[in-house]
Symmetry: C2
Subunit: 394 residues, 2 copies
């Protein structure tokens, strides 16, 4: 296995290795898979910043990172209702013809917190812990403005979805793809971004152009964007049709999976997690209390109205302090909520469990356990997050 990894190292320039040209990564990233590269953020570092720094932002790649020359990169706008097809260069997009806008938004992998669900009962997929999520300020132009320039009529009822394709592709040449509902594509928060936190988008995150559709599944926010295509149906891509679907808990590993019967994931449900301290941290009894920190977020722009923590398994709860983007209102809250709370160390126990849960603007909240959420692919685990803390009698 070590030999296999060595063979895949970028430095060996193996021409048969499609991953040989992947970028260098920050050593603090917690690597889940080397090829394709998948890594999550170090939890405590993530908590230090409302905007997650680019170099520790989680990476979820499905294929090798394409080696894009920005001066030659093009985005095609074509398809249903497009009366003036466009081929835009990166310079066209930055020219000022389209208004520059910024949006601060979470991107969360559909598999975030899968490992927790897997500990409850075995599931299939990359074993993400709780930091396959990050919050960044993306700068670019509204997708709506580009579609309007391409002659798309906002009231064209034939158009139901907009497809996106990336420059990343598998060995057969099939490129990554996904789609969002037409209404989301036309919403002002949906952008073609060229900057992430004020810098050119890093290669791992879609250089030079990425589709940002706040409030929905990360997998739809296509990196290395090359095609925008209005359509009457959802994207035919594998990741829209045969992945990122939540089967009922009655479907077991090994059962036939009829993907056509299940809706593709679009908006994310309400989520929260504890990032500090780490699970099984040892605290001293004489400290009397423990400082906690974490994040909360919900899909569809539904702002977080409350995060609560419990040290008695959910019998009683304490409200956490919330940090939110002051420029976003509770109906259009694309950015996350960081939360902090200090809880007393319970008397007479060698260890105790800390639990957190969040409530969003629609008063949706998280289920107690992964049990009823369990699904064969381990997607969208939003059960109460629980960690154990050890107490040292000092």
């Amino acid at each position: 296995d070590d030999l296999a990894k060595a063979a895949l190292k970028k430095t060996d320039n193996n021409e048969n290795n499609p991953y040989a040209n992947d970028p260098e990564r920050h050593p603090a990233l917690l690597v889940n898979q080397e090829t394709p590269f998948n890594a999550e953020s170090p939890p405590s570092l993530m908590m230090d910043h409302y905007l997650t720094p680019n170099d520790i932002f989680f990476v979820r790649n499905h294929m090798p990172v394409p080696d894009v020359d920005a001066s030659k990169h093009r985005v095609k706008i074509e398809g249903l209702g497009v009366t003036k097809p466009l081929v835009l260069t990166v310079d066209d997009i930055k020219s000022g013809e389209f208004e520059e806008v910024s949006v601060t938004t979470v991107i969360q992998c559909g598999g975030n917190r899968r490992a927790d669900m897997n500990r409850f009962k075995k599931v299939q997929g990359l074993m993400w812990e709780g930091t396959a999520i990050g919050n960044a300020k993306w700068t670019g132009i509204r997708l709506r403005d580009v579609l309007l320039k391409a002659g798309v009529d906002p009231s064209d009822t034939r158009i139901k979805h907009v497809h996106f394709e990336g420059a990343d592709h598998d060995a057969s040449g099939a490129c990554y793809g996904g789609s969002v509902p037409f209404e989301k594509a036309m919403s002002p928060e949906t952008v073609i971004a060229y900057q992430m936190n004020g810098q050119p988008i890093p290669r791992d995150h879609g250089y030079p152009l990425r589709l940002i559709a706040p409030g929905i599944l990360g997998a739809r926010q296509v990196k290395w964007l090359v095609t925008v295509r209005p359509s009457d149906v959802e994207s035919p891509a594998h990741w829209q049709q045969k992945d990122y679907k939540v089967f009922p808990s009655s479907v077991q590993i090994g059962d036939p999976l009829d993907f056509s019967t299940v809706h593709s994931i679009n908006e994310y449900p309400v989520q929260s997690a504890i990032c500090v301290p780490a699970p099984n941290t040892k605290v001293e009894r004489s400290d009397g209390e423990v400082d906690l920190a974490g994040y909360a977020w919900s899909g569809g722009g539904r702002g977080i109205v409350r995060v609560e923590v419990s040290t008695d398994g959910g019998q009683t709860w304490q409200c956490a302090e919330l940090e939110q983007d002051p420029d976003q209102d509770v109906h259009h809250m694309w950015g996350w909520t960081l939360w902090r709370a200090t809880v007393p160390i319970p008397e007479g126990k060698e260890s105790f469990q800390v639990v957190c849960k969040a409530t969003d603007r629609a008063y949706n909240t998280q289920p107690e356990t992964p049990g009823a959420l369990w699904n064969v692919r381990g997607l969208l685990n939003t059960a109460w997050h629980r960690i154990n803390i050890q107490v040292i009698e000092d």
Copy 2:
């Protein structure tokens, strides 16, 4: 107490009784409070109709029913950004100047299923069981069209909310009121309705005009509508500011309630309940199985993608058959989902529990118990609905 009730009977025409002119009601309604009149639907009758019949639709009145002469009724449109104030008669509204539209939508009381939460731990409010909810087809005109005629600019960023007032009022003359976000007021599904299921709106439901804002709390859908007022702030009315707010579970009965710290309820979270059979129904072992039926619904137009039932307390689940409005898509599903399932009678038990839960388009789902949802006013109980069934050995 019986004497007091007799004194309040409509037939005694007591001029000091503000409820003397309330309408006659269908005897099948399950009365929760006589004055103001509050009653829920009989569960099994409700399940017989996708559109809940007007005469068994739940009634949630806060004050006496106003005695409105439709020929003299007026709706004023005034306030922030209104450059051409309007005073509309019912005939103006029906004149054809504004396009007639229909929307099938649920109205659900914020206290629906409070009795279940109260059985878990005492709360304050009317003890609604699970049928303070109904689904009707409302016909009228778009609120948006009226606001545009009144000169409101859809891009006026000063306007954040739209207030509504009803003709119902308390002894001091203060009228019922509430508000919705400006964006919701301008959405095409929000209407000033004059028909409910093809009939003039019954007096108990707002004759002659009611505001219908699909996907949000029933209490905002103001009956006997007399005022529409754009504003920079939420409605100052009692029911917006000092009621219909969900406190954290840490706030107990008797604690001071600082309403200014808590968001008003707007969109409803995902909900479901079992309506058939009734709790504690006796079934015969030899039948082998039991037929179940109920409803599911979520706020914000988030369609129901799955309803599941369990007979082992949520260890294993079975998917129910769903009945939905074929004219509504999963992103704009204002109407409810009726569901049906047949479950086997578990072996070797004198009684068993049936549980249901629903999942909406954003993959939000219901929490297992009312525990973490518990709030002093017993609002928005969306915990898994559970009923017991008795088994007769025959």
